[in-house]
C-alpha cells in the first residue's frame, strides 16, 4: 500500500519504510531454503543425496521456529512491534501461530521423505512448495494489512493447490488439486472483494495501529455513512477465511481434497493451513474490528454451531478413514470457532478466548500431523488403503503404531491426560466465561458424537479380529520420529499443561 500510494502524493523524497531485517529472519530462512532447494536441486545433475531435501526442509523449519522463539524473547523484553511500515507485526499471537506452522512443517517434512520414496516420486519441488506454503502461512499470521494478508493467503493457497495434486500417479490426487484450485480461487476472490469493500468504507487496509481500520472504526461518526459497505465487506472477508478453515457451509471441498491429496500433504493442510487461517481470522476480524462485533459475532456463532454439528455428524457415517478425519477436522474447526466467538467478547474473557484459540491451534496441529503420519503408513504403497478395513488388526500387527494412533484419536476425542482434553477444556472455559453456554453445550455434545468416530477406528484396530490383509505396514525412521514427537508432545501437554497454557495466555496479551 505504502509504496503504491507514495508516488501520487508528489513528494520529492521517498520515506522508505524501515525494514527490520532481524525480525524478518524466520520468513527469510523459509524463503531462502525454498529457493536453494529448487535451484540447487535443478542445477545438480543427478539430484541430491537420499533424504537431503527433507533434511534441509526440516532444518529450515527448526531454524525458523528457533528464530521465532528468539523474537518471542525480545517481545517479552521490548514489547511487540511492527515491521516494514506497519505491514507486518511481531507479537504474541503471530509468533505462537508461526511456531505452530513451523512445527507442522517439521513433522510434514519428516513424514513426506519416506512417503515420496515409497511412492517413487521423490523430488525437491514438494519440499519447495511446503516451504513456500509455510512462508505464506507465517505472513498471514503476522500481517497487519489486508493486502499483505491476501498476499500470504495466495502464497499459501497456490502452493497447496499444487501440493494436493503432487502425486502424479494417482488420479484422485489430480482431482483433489483441481477441485481445491477452483473452489479456492472462488474463496480468494470473495476475500479480495471483501478487502476492496472494507477499503472503500474505511479508506485504509491497515488493520491495527495508527490510521488503521481499528482506529477508523473507533470514530463511529465517520463510519456510519459506510456502514452497509463495511458490513458486506466483513461478511465477504469471513466467507474467504471460513473457506480456508473449512467451516460449514464453506467446507464442501474438504472431504474430497483431504481424501485425494497425498496423505502427508493432507496432514500439512489440516495443521499448517488451518493454523494460518485461524491466525488471519483472529487478526483481520476479531482483533481489528471490535467495534463492529455486534455485526459479525452472530455470524461466527452460526458458523461455529453449524461446523460443530455437521462436521461431527457427517464424520460418523464415513467409511474411509481419510474422509472421516477430514470431517473430524471440520468439527475441530468448529471448536476453534467456539474459542473465536469467546475472543469476540473482548476484555478479560476475550483474552481467554484468544489464548484458547492459540492453544487449540498448536495442539491440534501436532495431533493431526501425527494422525496423518500413521495414516500415511497404513495407506501402504500406492497410498490407497484408507478404508476402515485397512486398520483392522493393526493392534496385533503393529501394536506400537496402533497405540500411537489410539493416543492421537483419544486426544482428538478429548480424553483427559492428553493435549486434546486441555485444548477442549480451555475453549469451553473461555465460552463459559463469555456466558456462551449454548455454544459450549453444543460443542461438548459434538465432542461426544465425534468420540464415536474415533472409537470406531480404535475398535477396528484392537477389537476386530484382523486377518491383516495386504502387505505388512512398515515404519521407516523419519515417519517414526514424527509420530514419536507427536505422541510425546500430546502426552506431555496432557499431563503438564500449565506451561503451555501460560505461554498461550502470555501470547494473547502481548498484542501489537
Amino acid at each position: 500500500m505504502h509504496l503504491l500510494l507514495s508516488p501520487m502524493q508528489q513528494t520529492d523524497k521517498l520515506i522508505s519504510p524501515s525494514v527490520n531485517w532481524g525480525s524478518l529472519t524466520p520468513l527469510l530462512v523459509l524463503l531462502g531454503a525454498g529457493l536453494v532447494l529448487l535451484v540447487g536441486a535443478a542445477l545438480s545433475a543427478r539430484g541430491w543425496a537420499k533424504g537431503l531435501y527433507a533434511t534441509l526442509t526440516a532444518a529450515a523449519a527448526v531454524a525458523a521456529g528457533v528464530l521465532q522463539f528468539v523474537l518471542w524473547n525480545s517481545t517479552v523484553h521490548h514489547g511487540p512491534k511492527s515491521l516494514v511500515g506497519e505491514a507486518l507485526v511481531v507479537d504474541g499471537p503471530s509468533l505462537f501461530i508461526g511456531i505452530s506452522i513451523c512445527a507442522a512443517l517439521l513433522l510434514a517434512a519428516l513424514v513426506t521423505d519416506d512417503y515420496l520414496r515409497r511412492e517413487d516420486i521423490d523430488s525437491p519441488e514438494v519440499y519447495g512448495l511446503y516451504l513456500m506454503a509455510a512462508l505464506g502461512g507465517l505472513v498471514m499470521a503476522a500481517s497487519n494489512d489486508l493486502i499483505v494478508l491476501f498476499l500470504g493467503l495466495e502464497v499459501l493457497s497456490i502452493a497447496l493447490y499444487v501440493l494436493a495434486a503432487s502425486h502424479r500417479k494417482r488420479i484422485e490426487s489430480q482431482e483433489a488439486g483441481l477441485k481445491y484450485f477452483i473452489l479456492g480461487g472462488f474463496s480468494s476472490a470473495f476475500f479480495l472483494y471483501g478487502v476492496a469493500l472494507v477499503y472503500g468504507a474505511t479508506g485504509t487496509t491497515r488493520l491495527r495501529g495508527p490510521e488503521s481500520i481499528k482506529t477508523a472504526l473507533a470514530l463511529t461518526v465517520e463510519t456510519d455513512k459506510h456502514r452497509a459497505l463495511l458490513v458486506v465487506g466483513v461478511a465477504l472477508l469471513l466467507v474467504g477465511l471460513a473457506f480456508k478453515v473449512a467451516a460449514v457451509p464453506f467446507h464442501s471441498w474438504t472431504p474430497d481434497v483431504y481424501q485425494g491429496a497425498p496423505t502427508p500433504v493432507t496432514g500439512f493442510m489440516a495443521s499448517a493451513a488451518k493454523a494460518a487461517a485461524f491466525g488471519a481470522l483472529l487478526r483481520s476480524v476479531v482483533l481489528s474490528m471490535p467495534e463492529l462485533r455486534d455485526d459479525w459475532r452472530p455470524a461466527i456463532w452460526v458458523l461455529a454451531i453449524l461446523t460443530l454439528v455437521i462436521g461431527s455428524t457427517l464424520a460418523v457415517v464415513q467409511t474411509n478413514v481419510k474422509r472421516m478425519l477430514a470431517y473430524s477436522s471440520i468439527s475441530h474447526a468448529g471448536f476453534i470457532l467456539v474459542g473465536i466467538e469467546a475472543a469476540a467478547h473482548g476484555g478479560e474473557s476475550g483474552d481467554r478466548g484468544i489464548a484458547s484459540v492459540l492453544f487449540y491451534v498448536l495442539t491440534y496441529a501436532v495431533l493431526v500431523s501425527g494422525t496423518f503420519a500413521v495414516s500415511t503408513l497404513v495407506g501402504r504403497s500406492g497410498d490407497g488403503a484408507h478404508g476402515l478395513d485397512s486398520y483392522r488388526g493393526l493392534g496385533r500387527q503393529r501394536p506400537v503404531l496402533a497405540l500411537a494412533l489410539a493416543v492421537f484419536l483419544l486426544a482428538q476425542a478429548g480424553v483427559p491426560l492428553t493435549s486434546g482434553f486441555v485444548a477442549k477444556f480451555s475453549v469451553i472455559t473461555a465460552a463459559a466465561d463469555a456466558s456462551s453456554y449454548a455454544i459450549a453445550i453444543i460443542a461438548m455434545l459434538a465432542a461426544v458424537i465425534g468420540a464415536f468416530l474415533y472409537l470406531r477406528i480404535i475398535v477396528s484396530m484392537f477389537l476386530e479380529d484382523g486377518d491383516a490383509e495386504g502387505e505388512r505396514v512398515s515404519i521407516p525412521f523419519g515417519t517414526g520420529a514424527a509420530i514419536g514427537i507427536s505422541v510425546a508432545f500430546t502426552l506431555v501437554v496432557g499431563f503438564f499443561p500449565g506451561w503451555l497454557l501460560e505461554l498461550a495466555r502470555d501470547a494473547a496479551t502481548r498484542l501489537y
Binding site: I428, L445, V448, L455
Partner: protein, 552 residues
C-alpha cells in the same frame, strides 16, 4: 495431626501407576511375573489404604483429612486439592479392596483373548481413576479422574467382553461422555457465575451462598447448573431413563469388569451427588429432590420388573443394580441425614453384594459356558459350594436382616417417611411429606419384587436336578475322579473358549483362588450386616454436615 501426613493420599492414588510402569518393561510372555507385579502393586496400594484407615481420625470424620492443597494448573485456576473425610473413606478403601480381589480372581481367570499384561495394567489404571475421584476436592481434578475411569473400562469391555462387546463398550463410553459433557459445562458455569478464584468444592459452596444472598446468583441459574451436574451423575448411577447402557455393559463385560463396574463405578455417580451437587447447590437440590425421588422409585419398580423378565443371569443381576441404585438415590433425595446415611451404606453394601453376585455369575459361566437360566439347574447338587455362596449373596441382595444389604435398603425406605424439613436460613422449604410417603410405599413394594426375582432365580438355577445337558458332570461325580481340584484350576483359563456343545469337561467346585477372592467379601457382608454401626459412624459426621443445610 490432620495435615502432617499429606503424602498418604497422593501415594495411595498414584502408586498403581508405578506398578504399570514396571509392568511395561516385563515381556508379555512372562505371564506369571506380570500377574505377580500387578497384584503386588495393588496390595501395596491396599497397604497404604489400611494405613489410611488406621491413621484416620474418626473423631473428626466430617473434616477433610490428609489434605493437600497445592497449585496444579494456575492458568485455569485449577488446584491439586485432595482430602478424605467420612464420606470418601469407605468408598476409597472399597475400591482398593475390590481391585486386589479382582486381581486374585484373575490369576487363573484371565478372560479370552488372554494377554494378562494389558488386563492387569488396565485394572491398575482403573484403580487410579476410582481412588482419585473419591479424594479429589477440586472440580477439575474430579472431572479428570471421573473421565480417566472411562477408558480402561471401555477397553476391558471392548477387548475381553462377550460376543456383543463392541456395541456394549461404545454405548457405555458414549452415554457416560454425554453426561459428562453437561457436567463439565455446569462446573464451568458454577465457577464463572460465582466468580470463584479456584475450583475448590468448599470455596465454591461458600461462594454460592454468598452470591445467592447478595442476589448475584438467581435460582434459575442454580437450577440449570444443578441440572447439568445431575445429568452427568445420573447417567453414571444410572438412574431410570439413562440406565440402558448398564445391562449391555454388564452382560458383555468380563467378570472382572462387571464386578468393578457394579462395585465402584456406579458409585461415582451417587458419590458425585452427595459430594458435589447437594452441598454446593442446596437450594437447587431441594427443587430437584422430588423429581430425583420419583425417578428413583420408577427405577426400583422398573428394574425389578425387568429382572423378572430376564432369561440371562448376568442381565438379571444388572437390572437388579438399577433397582438397588434406585434405593440409594431415594435415600439421597430425602435430603435427610437418615436418608443420606442409608444411601452411603447402600453404596458400599451394593458394591460388596452385587460384586459378589457377578463373581458367582462369572464362575458359573466358566463351568457351564452359559448363563441362560433355563439351562442351569441343580447347582446345589453339582457344585454345592458355589450354589451356597450364590444363595448367600442372593439373600444379602434381597435385604435379609443381618446381612449388609438390609442396612442400605431398609433405612432408605424408612427415611422417605420423613423427608427434609427445610432450612429457613438458606431459604430452603420443606419437601412434601405426602409425596415421599407415597414413594416409600412404592419402594417397599419394590423390595417384595426383589425377593421375588432373586428367590426365583435361585430356585431355578440352584434347586432341582441338573438338566440333561450337564447331568453326570457335577462335582459329586468328581469324587471318584483322580484329578485334584488344583489341576482343574490350572487349565481352566485355557478351556475358556472351547464351549462346543456336547463335550463339556467335568464341573468342579469353588477353587482356591476363588476362595481367596471371595472370602473377604463374604466376611464383610456378614460383618457389616451384624455391626452396621462400624460404617455408619464413619459416614455420619460428614453426612450431618450436608443434611444440616436442609434442616435434617
Amino acid at each position: 495431626m490432620l495435615t502432617d501426613q499429606n503424602w498418604v493420599l497422593s501415594v495411595g492414588v498414584f502408586l498403581p501407576l508405578a506398578g504399570v510402569l514396571v509392568m511395561m518393561f516385563i515381556p508379555k510372555s512372562d505371564e506369571l511375573l506380570v500377574k505377580f507385579v500387578g497384584l503386588l502393586a495393588a496390595l501395596a496400594t491396599l497397604g497404604i489404604g489400611i494405613y489410611t484407615l488406621a491413621e484416620f481420625d474418626y473423631g473428626q470424620a466430617e473434616k477433610l483429612q490428609f489434605a493437600v492443597n497445592t497449585s496444579w494448573i494456575d492458568v485455569i485456576h485449577s488446584r491439586y486439592i485432595v482430602g478424605l473425610d467420612g464420606l470418601s473413606l469407605p468408598l476409597y478403601i472399597l475400591s482398593m479392596v475390590i481391585t486386589v480381589l479382582v486381581m486374585i480372581y484373575s490369576w487363573n481367570h484371565v478372560p479370552s483373548p488372554g494377554n494378562p499384561k494389558a488386563f492387569y495394567m488396565l485394572m491398575l489404571v482403573l484403580q487410579v481413576g476410582m481412588a482419585g475421584t473419591f479424594v479429589a476436592q477440586d472440580l477439575v481434578l474430579f472431572f479428570v479422574f471421573f473421565e480417566i475411569v472411562l477408558l480402561p473400562m471401555y477397553f476391558m469391555i471392548g477387548v475381553w467382553g462377550g460376543e456383543n462387546r463392541q456395541y456394549a463398550s461404545l454405548k457405555f463410553f458414549l452415554y457416560t461422555m454425554f453426561g459428562s459433557a453437561f457436567m463439565l459445562v455446569a462446573f464451568l458455569a458454577l465457577f464463572f457465575k460465582t466468580g470463584g478464584t479456584t475450583f475448590s468444592m468448599t470455596q465454591l459452596a461458600d461462594l454460592v451462598q454468598q452470591k445467592y444472598a447478595e442476589g448475584g446468583l438467581t435460582s434459575t441459574t442454580m437450577n440449570l447448573i444443578f441440572a447439568g451436574m445431575a445429568l452427568g451423575f445420573a447417567v453414571k448411577v444410572p438412574m431410570f431413563p439413562f440406565h440402558t447402557w448398564l445391562p449391555d455393559a454388564h452382560t458383555q463385560a468380563p467378570t472382572q469388569g462387571s464386578v468393578i463396574l457394579a462395585a465402584i463405578l456406579l458409585k461415582l455417580g451417587t458419590y458425585g451427588f452427595v459430594r458435589i451437587a447437594l452441598p454446593i447447590l442446596p437450594q437447587a437440590a431441594k427443587v430437584f429432590a422430588p423429581w430425583i425421588g420419583l425417578l428413583s422409585v420408577i427405577g426400583i419398580i422398573y428394574g425389578a420388573w425387568c429382572c423378572l423378565a430376564q432369561t440371562d443371569m448376568k442381565r438379571l443381576i444388572a437390572f437388579s443394580s438399577v433397582a438397588h441404585m434406585g434405593f440409594v438415590m431415594l435415600g439421597i433425595s430425602t435430603l435427610t441425614s437418615y436418608g443420606i446415611n442409608a444411601a452411603m451404606f447402600g453404596m458400599v453394601a451394593h458394591g460388596l453384594i452385587t460384586g459378589m453376585l457377578f463373581f458367582v455369575a462369572g464362575s458359573v459361566k466358566d463351568r457351564y459356558h452359559t448363563l441362560e437360566i433355563k439351562r442351569l439347574s441343580g447347582m446345589l447338587k453339582q457344585v454345592p459350594k458355589l450354589g451356597w455362596i450364590m444363595g448367600f449373596a442372593a439373600m444379602a441382595s434381597l435385604g435379609l436382616p443381618g446381612l449388609a444389604g438390609f442396612w442400605g435398603e431398609f433405612p432408605a425406605i424408612l427415611s422417605a417417611f420423613e423427608p427434609a424439613k427445610g432450612n429457613v436460613d438458606l431459604a430452603i422449604g420443606p419437601l412434601s411429606v405426602n409425596l415421599y410417603r407415597t414413594f416409600m410405599i412404592i419402594a417397599s413394594i419394590g423390595t417384595v419384587f426383589a425377593a421375588g426375582y432373586l428367590l426365583w432365580l435361585y430356585q431355578r438355577t440352584a434347586f432341582g436336578t441338573p438338566t440333561a445337558e450337564f447331568a453326570g458332570l457335577g462335582a459329586d461325580a468328581d469324587d471318584q475322579d483322580d484329578h485334584a481340584h488344583g489341576a482343574h484350576d490350572a487349565h481352566e483359563g485355557a478351556e475358556d473358549t472351547g464351549h462346543a456343545d456336547g463335550h463339556h469337561e467335568k464341573l468342579h467346585d469353588v477353587g482356591i483362588f476363588e476362595w481367596i477372592a471371595w472370602a473377604p467379601m463374604l466376611a464383610a457382608i456378614v460383618f457389616f450386616g451384624v455391626y452396621p454401626q462400624a460404617m455408619f459412624k464413619v459416614f455420619d459426621p460428614a453426612v450431618s454436615l450436608i443434611s444440616k443445610k436442609f434442616g435434617g
